[in-house]
């Protein structure tokens, strides 16, 4: 490469990071703004006043103050933060899954975890069984988490016993998904309408149940996922060239795939346990990111994280502005699809490089 082209290459890399930075800034901006979006009328300034007051430790005088403090500090603030975290987790998970199984249709739930999690939730909602006798909601969350790890365990077991191709892993995930969803379906069918509504709401995915207590879990999950993904990003790039080529380049595709899928499953399970299965983000955000920063893992993964966070925070904010009870999961596709289709047409490429 001549000097000029080297400069161009570096400039292009810089451009990528600028893009990621821009996305992060927008996300932050929306998050900051979103604190004031809720069914209760409150202005942007007021909301932040409440937050600062709380952080300063000022005592709450009036009833009015207490309500506002509760709504903002216990309501919208953690919710927005959680949305950002969950969106980031889903974005990275989707990107990594697509690398692992070399399939553009893969998403974080390809391993079947969302059906398993939903099963756990339905058991507790419809039949009242929780694995640990924890306080109400935590029982449900814990159920979801434990069950969602079962497909993962299945995959590990099968991989240990025989040679598995990426496609086999997908198919196993699909089989597990069907097994769990069939049980869930039966329970749903026999459930009363109110319980059914709850279950459906859970399965659509909504950030509304996030509290401050969930945030540490989400932060840990995101951190673990991000570090692992970045650490493996080079290997994932190599793996997309094909299993034979990777082995010759010193990357063990089987091991890498398995480790990545386990970590992705675990971290996504954490997210799913709190929010239900929010679709679309994990599938399409990596593709959109690819259109902006290309296919290299080291750029794609942070970009997917940022874009995922942006999408979910925006969706959640919009959902909230329409009144309580509208799940974010329904809005993500509404915002994201037109965007995505527009870029597909405009850039005349599918981002997958072909």
């Amino acid at each position: 490469m001549s000097g000029d082209e080297a400069d161009l290459y570096v400039a292009k890399s810089k451009k990528r990071w600028v893009a990621i930075l821009i996305i992060l800034i927008i996300t932050l901006a929306i998050t900051i703004y979103s604190v004031c979006v809720m069914s209760f009328n409150i202005s942007f300034q007021e909301a932040w006043e409440v937050i600062f007051k709380h952080l300063r430790g000022d005592p709450l005088e009036s009833y009015y103050d207490r309500i506002r403090d509760y709504l903002v500090f216990e309501g919208t603030l953690p919710r927005s933060i959680a949305a950002g975290l969950i969106g980031a987790i889903l974005g990275i998970s989707g990107a990594v899954m697509q690398y692992c199984v070399r399939n553009p249709l893969a998403d974080p739930y390809t391993t079947g975890i969302s059906s398993a999690a939903l099963f756990g939730v339905t058991i507790s909602l419809a039949l009242g069984i929780t694995l640990l006798p924890l306080h109400d909601e935590y029982g449900i969350v814990f159920n979801a988490f434990v069950f969602s790890m079962i497909p993962c365990a299945m995959m590990i077991l099968i991989s240990l016993r025989r040679k598995t191709t990426p496609t086999m892993l997908i198919l196993i995930g699909i089989a597990m998904m069907y097994i769990f969803s069939s049980f869930t379906m039966v329970m749903k069918y026999n459930a009363e309408p109110e319980v059914l509504e709850q279950i459906i709401e859970w399965s659509i995915g909504s950030v509304s149940k996030a509290h401050w207590e969930s945030i540490p879990f989400l932060i840990v999950a995101l951190a673990v996922l991000l570090i692992m993904a970045l650490f493996y990003s080079k290997k994932l790039d190599v793996m997309s060239a094909g299993d034979n080529l990777s082995t010759s380049l010193g990357v063990d595709p089987k091991k890498t795939r398995l480790i990545c899928m386990i970590v992705v499953s675990a971290c996504t399970s954490v997210a799913v346990s709190f929010s239900g299965s929010i679709g679309f983000v994990g599938l399409v955000v990596p593709h959109i990111s690819r259109l902006f920063v290309g296919s290299k893992g080291f750029a794609l993964i942070p970009c997917s994280a940022a874009a995922g966070a942006l999408l979910l925070v925006a969706a959640d904010t919009i959902a909230r502005s329409f009144g309580a009870g509208l799940p974010a999961g329904a809005i993500t596709a509404l915002i994201g699809s037109p965007f995505f289709l527009y870029f597909l047409i405009k850039m005349r490429t599918n981002g997958w490089g072909r």
Binding site: A241, G242, N244, L245, R348
Partner: protein, 256 residues
């Protein structure tokens, strides 16, 4: 048969790849297209077989523009063998090669079709792979299967994109010789993209050397493979000697 390439040009949105390429081919022969990477060889072949539509110029096949032919007619006349990729697809070797009979056969594959497949497999030395699944093959075997598929198509013109790229020396020689024999004995115009100057020199009837998206030189191997041409096109110093009646390129030095 007659193939005329007349002022063909092609551009991708970002850049112009082919520029005013013209060539004439009459009658069966083995033609080798040589040239550095990225110079437009594959693009040219794609333009001939209607895989890409040229932005300028025409390709005339037996006096008619290729786009005037019905797709199935084209398939009977022109066969294309791609560069072996790492794409796997889910079928046995025999089934994969049988697909090449599609333009000729109807719903069912006849016994003759199958016999043809086996004889071609035997000719290429891969008949023992007949029942193997495609994903179990090595890159070289892949390539031979692709070649077999092109051969059973029984076309008048065959376009091959680096048919010997992944084969070892013996198979490179053997396959190119088979291609030459097919050209002469079976009356096929074979146009192949080749990277090995010497194998092309040894077997080809004529050579096209491309540079910068256009044809730099055409003619017999003796005419084209001279030191000045190789220096101009590849930027490589060499010495040409004669061996068995054909030129042989001995590479010397290059600036890198």
């Amino acid at each position: 048969m007659e193939l005329n390439i007349d002022g063909v040009g092609f551009s991708y949105p970002s850049k112009k790849v082919l520029n005013d390429v013209s060539a004439n081919f009459e009658g069966p022969q083995l033609v080798a297209i040589l040239g550095p990477n990225g110079v437009g060889k594959s693009t040219l072949i794609h333009c001939i077989d209607r895989i890409l539509k040229p932005s300028e110029g025409h390709v005339m096949l037996d006096g008619k523009d290729t786009y005037e032919y019905h797709m199935k007619e084209m398939a009977k006349k022109v066969g294309y063998v791609p560069y072996a990729s790492s794409d796997m697809f889910p079928m046995s070797v025999v089934d994969a090669v049988l697909l090449g009979r599609h333009p000729h056969s109807n719903w069912k594959s006849t016994k003759d079709d199958v016999r043809l497949v086996f004889s071609v497999l035997k000719r290429l030395g891969i008949d023992d792979l007949a029942k193997s699944q495609f994903n179990e093959l090595s890159a070289g075997q892949h390539q031979k299967v692709m070649l077999a598929r092109g051969l059973v198509q029984e076309p008048e013109i065959m376009l091959l994109d680096e048919p010997t790229a992944n084969l070892d020396v013996k198979h490179q020689l053997g396959v190119t010789r088979i291609l030459r024999d097919i050209a002469h004995e079976d009356g096929v115009l074979i146009i192949m993209i080749c990277h090995d100057l010497n194998i092309a020199a040894k077997y080809a009837d004529s050579i096209i050397m491309m540079k910068d998206g256009t044809i730099f030189a055409t003619g017999t191997p003796e005419e084209v493979l001279i030191e000045e041409n190789i220096r101009a096109v590849y930027d490589v110093e060499c010495r040409i000697i004669e061996d068995q009646g054909r030129p042989h390129v001995i590479l010397r030095e290059c600036e890198y």
